[in-house]
């Protein structure tokens, strides 16, 4: 790109170009042509939570929770109180006076839990002196309770009163939780998934562990609900397991290996010789049918009903992918430690007869190799026919550090947060321009002329 300036970096540049993707500067499908940088944090921003159509909260290692207006980029309130970094944050809708309010629950390394009112900026509730710091939070709307997961699992009611808790499990603690039907909760603890049951009798709630699912070979990195009947977990070594939500049996097992194929260029071989390809499943997202897994620096799209891989990119980013999102009509987004957000589109592959396709097919030798017999054998049959390609349609470059996560406000824009302490709101420039025009004409009318 800037080789004429850089000179020395030329060699590396070519590697990058062949190894990762290079879309170039012409991005007609990328509508984000306007950005606004939001400053306010003093350390890594790790969490973004949407409060309503207009507002979102950001939190990170500086212990600050900031509430922003997505349209104007205005800082609405600063929620101060946590002494150490924030480890989890979630929104909590409750009904007060007939209206639904949205509050924020935050957990911090200072072993406190707080409930905030984003309208006023007040800390409504606070629990301190917990036995361990909370790593994840889960709101159970049906029971009007919420669950915090640390070294033990605690159940709280809306008034921040501890209802019950489990015994101390392990030092690694609960890293993720999902809600299952019939008041069950699946919690990821190191290599196991533990199923808890919440027994509700009147106003009392009791919790008990029902089952330990120990099918993963390594630490579970992500745990999500796919749809009403399935949930998925991904491990550090690329194991992706689909579980039945009701009887907790394995529905599908994929082991993503990202193995090298012989047809690749020399540079690539050298690269793999140097280091083991990262294949940890950092993040997953699903729309009930498709499931996207961030595997190392690659992306993996899985069709849940067909139990087959749809598309994949072994190297989608220059570094580990941290967050993914599935949008409608086969669009997806990913962000990575390399500081970029990339937008992808699932496209049908060209016909196999075309010469271009052979190279592409050569790229994937082994993937999704099933090693468990639970996996239906039918999977191998349509292996090639259902495959689509993941095409890069645009990238957003702005952050100078890893992009931790992003939240989409549909047409209002996309918010990204990063290690560089910044938040960026990306907007559709054309749409914004039209909105501004309307605002101008409105003001013109108010002023009755220029």
């Amino acid at each position: 790109m800037l080789r004429w300036i850089l000179g020395a970096r030329e060699a590396q540049g070519t590697v990058e170009k062949s190894a990762a993707l290079f879309i170039g500067e012409e991005q007609p499908k990328n509508c984000f042509t306007e950005m606004q940088v939001l400053k306010g944090h003093f350390d890594i921003v790790r969490f973004l939570v949407q409060i309503d159509d207009l507002r979102f909260a950001s939190a990170g290692d500086d212990g600050l929770v900031l509430v922003w207006n997505v349209e104007t980029g205005e800082l609405l309130s600063e929620l101060r109180g946590h002494m150490q970094q924030i480890t989890a944050m979630t929104s909590y809708a409750y009904i007060k006076g007939g209206d639904t309010h949205t509050a924020l629950i935050t957990a911090s390394s200072d072993r406190t839990l707080s409930l905030w009112d984003p309208d006023t900026g007040n800390r409504v509730q606070n629990v301190s002196d917990l036995q361990s710091s909370v790593k994840c939070l889960l709101v159970l709307d049906r029971l009007d309770t919420w669950v915090s997961g640390g070294n033990e699992l605690c159940v709280w009611n809306r008034d921040f009163e501890l209802q019950c808790k489990t015994v101390h499990h392990s030092d690694t603690g609960i890293s993720a939780m999902v809600e299952l039907p019939k008041n069950f909760i699946a919690a990821a603890m190191d290599r196991e998934i533990v199923i808890f049951k919440l027994n509700v009798s009147g106003s009392d709630i009791a919790v008990m562990a029902m089952q330990h699912l120990a099918d993963h070979q390594d630490t579970i990195r992500s745990l999500i609900n796919v749809n009403d009947g399935l949930f998925a977990s991904g491990s550090h070594i690329g194991e992706l397991i689909l579980w039945d939500s009701l009887n907790w049996t394995i529905q599908a097992y994929e082991h993503i290996l990202w193995e090298e194929s012989a047809g690749e260029g020399q540079s690539e071989v050298r690269l793999t010789n140097q280091k083991q390809v990262e294949r940890s499943i950092q993040h997953m997202s699903s729309d009930g049918e498709l499931l996207v897994a961030a595997v190392g620096s690659g992306l993996y799209v899985y069709n849940v009903p067909l139990k087959s891989v749809v598309a994949y990119r072994r190297i989608a980013h220059d570094s580990n992918v941290l967050h993914t999102m599935l949008q409608e009509d086969g669009h997806l987004m990913s962000c990575s430690e390399d500081g970029s957000v990339r937008m992808w589109e699932l496209q049908d592959l060209p016909l196999p007869a075309e010469p271009a396709s052979s190279g592409l097919f050569g790229m994937f030798g082994t993937f999704g190799r099933s090693s468990k017999q639970v996996c239906p054998p039918a999977k191998n049959l349509p292996e090639v026919s259902g495959l689509r390609s993941l095409e890069l349609t645009g990238d957003l470059i702005g952050h100078s550090g890893a992009v931790q996560m992003f939240v989409s406000f549909k047409e209002k824009g996309l918010v990204t947060c990063s290690t560089d302490h910044l938040l960026i709101v990306w907007r559709d420039g054309e749409l914004q321009s039209q909105l501004r025009s309307l605002a101008v004409l409105h003001k013109l009318e108010q002023n009755q002329g220029l």
């Binding site: 800037l2 400053k39 321009s433 501004r436 003001k443």
Partner: protein, 862 residues
């Protein structure tokens, strides 16, 4: 730019032409009439017989001791006046002070009465000297002066009669401001003086009373001494009464005009500024002044009254107060500042003053877009306010260049509504031919009816504001009244804590002096009660300080005093580049503007001849905290001219700037980079008053937020670790920026197709002068801005037909721009400008949104 004299040529057609009105013609009020070529080939030769080189301001006094004498000139440089006889001219201008500022014992009144007289404004001409003057008479109060008044006058002296006549309105309003400062300060000082005098008198009375009592005891009631003492006592009593009455009068100074509030407000709004000026001046001036100040602080509370002897000193024995003493130092300095401003703003030929006035008036009208490319005016907003054009009543006075005698009616003296003086005392217009004197020869004046003892001096009439453009001015005044009166109460309340809450007049002077207070007076009084009366103390220490020296005629005065004035002047002038030294230039009678053009011309063309040698000339205009002036921009025009000649990819670079893509100028040599930044400066939209959107030299890696803020960046190329991180940031944000590498002479940027920038930056242009090129660019940018304005405020292209109509809006917008004849790239420029206009219109400033395009860049080489 708009109204450039050579561009705007509009003359009135014959009668038959009136039926057809060309829609493209400028409205009449914006037109600048052509110079009449038949009478004279060279427009400046007429002024050649004047004995001074350029216009100046003269302050004179009619001293009761020595008669009319000049006090000071602005600029104080003695070269300005040349051989012009200031003493003589002072005599002339003071001799027409017909103002009957009667103070003393009016018939039917027992006490001396102060008259609050309006200043009079007269136009005078002295054809023998080749001088014409706007003369502003005013009177200041002085307890020691005859009749308590000291007549002063300020005169704007020019060789161009038309300038005086046609700028009368502006001169009048500007000089009124200066006069208002003087009078305000004078009232304070006078009240202070009266108070002290009263204390003295009361002390004297008590002493006399004691003595009388003593004598009564010793010698009985009817001894001669006792009677004498009693008489003396009675005199003192009377005197006390008179002075109290005077004090009442001065403190209840009526606010005849709400307009005065403006000055009062603007004065009170910036007290820190005044004191700052004060401080700096104090440092520069004699130390004794400072010591006086500090001394006065101590004395404030403990003023020891003095015994006043029955017989006052002889008129010619006493030393008259200087102007500075008469009206406190702060106000005096403010006046000088104002007068300097006046002198600066009326410099140059009438034509250029017109042009700039029209320009300014038009700029005020287009606030929506003027922030884009227009240079911030050198003047303060406050002054430019006075030049606003009302659409119904053109500001520009009717020009009488055709040689026809102007009808008498237009200059018939008439009474200003709020003047106290009866109209009968106004001087008559001597003759019609005098008004149109510029068309006649100087020799003709001998035969004409003229005024005064000397035939060469004419009074053209005392033109009151109401007859030039009464409608316009009335409107202006009305609006001013309405705007000020609303804030008046609040202001007064703020400044005078003594004001009672219900708004009733405050009582200040004890029970025996229940004087209804006027708000404007209140403000003044607040000052003189709470503040330290400086001038009086200064006066007490007279004799051993420089300040108290009698002002003498400057032409023949002692050089030390002159130096003092120069010193003051330079501190007040502020920016030294505003003042040009004419020592190299012969005083050939060229007007100053012409001379200045000449200087620029010379320097420009020489540097044009040898571009290589002039590398040091293009100094960066950026000095932190100082506003970019038009002059600096014009100089930048010169660099820009060189840039477009040297670099074939100048078009692309300019395109980047105009379309809002940040241009980074990368180089290892700071001078080269700065020069390029300077050259490209004039193409940056929304440059900001201080050039906020430009970073001329950066040696640290830039951030994303910097791209949002700066649109033109000079960046250091270095081999250090910092340099590599700079390169990294360049690489990372390469899609948002264009990079001009001045070491390798390459430019990496998106392509540009179109003709617009070819016009703007033709490398074969015949334009040789930087300022001309700047104006050329400005005119094209103005056109562009007009299109952007049209695009922004055109309803039908932005309103969706229905809710789900976003796509059609986009296509309508694109088509609109294509119909305007813009290519895709030029459309981007208009769109960017339009976005800026929108943001500016909606919220008055930029929100900090950074917009960009995803386009491929190419590498251009020389």
């Amino acid at each position: 730019m708009i109204g450039s004299p050579d561009l705007v040529a509009f003359t009135k057609e014959d009668d038959f032409g009136e039926s057809f009105s060309d829609p493209l013609l400028l409205p009449e009020e914006f037109s600048v009439p052509l110079f009449n070529h038949t009478t004279n080939a060279n427009p400046w030769t007429k002024t050649s017989y004047a004995k001074f080189s350029k216009d100046f301001i003269l302050i004179s006094e009619f001293s009761e001791q020595v008669g009319p004498q000049p006090l000071l000139t602005i600029p104080s440089d003695s070269k300005v006046c040349g051989t012009f006889d200031l003493n003589y001219f002072s005599l002339r201008i003071m001799s027409v002070d017909y103002q009957a500022s009667f103070v003393g014992h009016p018939p039917g009144s027992n006490y001396p009465k102060l008259n609050f007289v309006e200043d009079s404004k007269v136009v005078l001409g002295d054809s023998k000297e080749g001088a014409f003057a706007y003369v502003h008479h005013l009177t200041l109060y002085d307890l020691e002066a005859r009749g308590f008044v000291r007549p002063f006058c300020m005169a704007y002296i020019s060789a161009d009669e038309r300038k005086i006549m046609q700028q009368f309105q502006e001169l009048s309003s500007e000089f009124s401001k200066a006069s208002e400062f003087l009078k305000l300060g004078n009232r304070k000082a006078f009240a202070n003086e009266l108070e002290k005098k009263l204390k003295d008198l009361e002390y004297t009375r008590s002493v006399l009373h004691k003595e009388t009592e003593l004598q009564k005891m010793h010698r009985g009631c009817y001894s001669t001494q006792a009677i004498e003492k009693a008489n003396e006592l009675a005199n003192v009593e009377k005197s006390i009464y008179e002075h109290k009455d005077l004090l009442r009068q001065i403190t209840s100074f009526p606010s005849r005009k709400k307009k005065d509030m403006d000055f009062v407000q603007c004065e009170t709004e910036k007290p820190t500024e005044i004191s700052a000026v004060d401080d700096t001046l104090m440092c520069n001036s004699d130390n004794s002044v400072k010591s006086v100040e500090t001394e006065s602080d101590n004395r404030k509370s403990t003023y020891t009254p003095q015994f006043i002897k029955a017989k006052s000193a002889k008129c010619f024995d006493k030393r008259l107060k200087t102007l500075e003493e008469l009206c406190e130092t702060n106000f005096f300095l403010q006046t000088l500042e104002q007068l300097n401003l006046v002198e600066r703003s009326f410099r140059g030929d009438l034509c250029s003053i017109y042009t700039s006035q029209i320009n300014r008036a038009l700029l005020i009208k287009q606030r929506v877009t003027s922030f884009l490319f227009e240079a911030e005016a050198d003047w303060k907003d406050e002054t430019s306010k006075n030049f606003s054009i009302s659409s119904n009543n053109p500001l520009i006075p009717i020009l009488n260049l055709s040689g026809e005698p102007m009808s008498l009616d237009s200059y018939t003296p008439c009474v200003d509504v709020d003047r106290i003086k009866p109209s009968g005392e106004y001087i008559e217009v001597s003759s019609t031919s005098d008004i149109t004197q510029e068309t006649s020869e100087a020799a003709d004046t001998e035969t004409k009816g003229s005024f005064g003892s000397d035939k060469s001096i004419e009074v053209f009439g005392s033109v009151s504001p109401s007859n030039l453009q009464s409608n316009y001015l009335d409107g202006l005044e009305r609006s001013k009244v309405s705007s000020t009166s609303s804030s008046e109460d609040q202001k007064v309340g703020k400044m005078s804590p003594k004001m009672t809450s219900d708004g009733s007049p405050p009582k200040v002077f004890g029970t025996e002096n229940l004087v209804p207070m006027d708000p404007s007076c209140c403000i003044g009084q607040d000052g003189f009660i709470d503040e330290e009366p400086l001038p009086e103390i200064a006066q007490e220490c007279c004799g051993d300080t420089v300040v108290n020296q009698e002002p003498l005629s400057l032409l023949h005065g002692d050089p030390a005093l002159q130096m003092d004035y120069i010193l003051e002047d330079s501190t007040l002038a502020g920016s030294p580049n505003m003042r040009l030294t004419f020592s190299e230039l012969n005083t050939s009678g060229l007007s100053e503007e012409a001379a200045r053009i000449h200087i620029e011309d010379v320097s420009d063309s020489t540097s044009y001849m040898s571009t290589s040698t002039s590398s040091d000339r293009a100094a960066s205009p950026f000095t932190y905290g100082s506003a970019l002036t038009l002059k600096q921009k014009k100089k930048a025009g010169h660099s820009a001219l060189r840039f477009i000649r040297q670099y074939p990819f100048a078009h692309q670079a300019i395109f980047c700037l105009l379309s809002g893509r940040t241009l980074v100028i990368l180089g290892s040599d700071e001078g080269t980079v700065r020069k390029l930044v300077n050259a490209l400066l004039i193409f940056v939209p929304d440059l900001g008053k201080y050039g906020d959107t430009v970073q001329p030299w950066l040696s640290t890696p830039f951030q994303l937020t910097d791209l949002q803020r700066w649109k033109l960046i000079g960046l250091q190329r270095a081999a250090s670790p910092a340099g590599s991180s700079i390169l990294y940031s360049l690489n990372r944000y390469s899609r948002y920026i264009s990079i001009l590498d001045c070491d390798n002479k390459t430019l990496r940027c998106p392509p540009y197709k179109g003709t617009l920038i070819n016009h703007m930056a033709d490398h074969r242009t015949q334009i040789k002068r930087g300022s001309t090129y700047f104006l050329h660019v400005q005119s094209l940018l103005t056109q562009l801005t007009a299109k952007a304005l049209l695009y922004t405020f055109c309803h039908h292209i932005h309103l969706p037909m229905d809710m789900n109509d976003q796509g059609s809006v986009t296509s309508r917008r694109t088509n609109f721009l294509l119909q305007l004849g813009y290519t895709v790239e030029e459309s981007k420029i208009v769109q960017y400008l339009s976005e800026l206009i929108k943001e500016h219109y909606i919220q008055g400033h930029s929100k900090g949104v950074f917009s960009f395009n995803y386009t491929t860049s190419y590498l251009y080489k020389i």
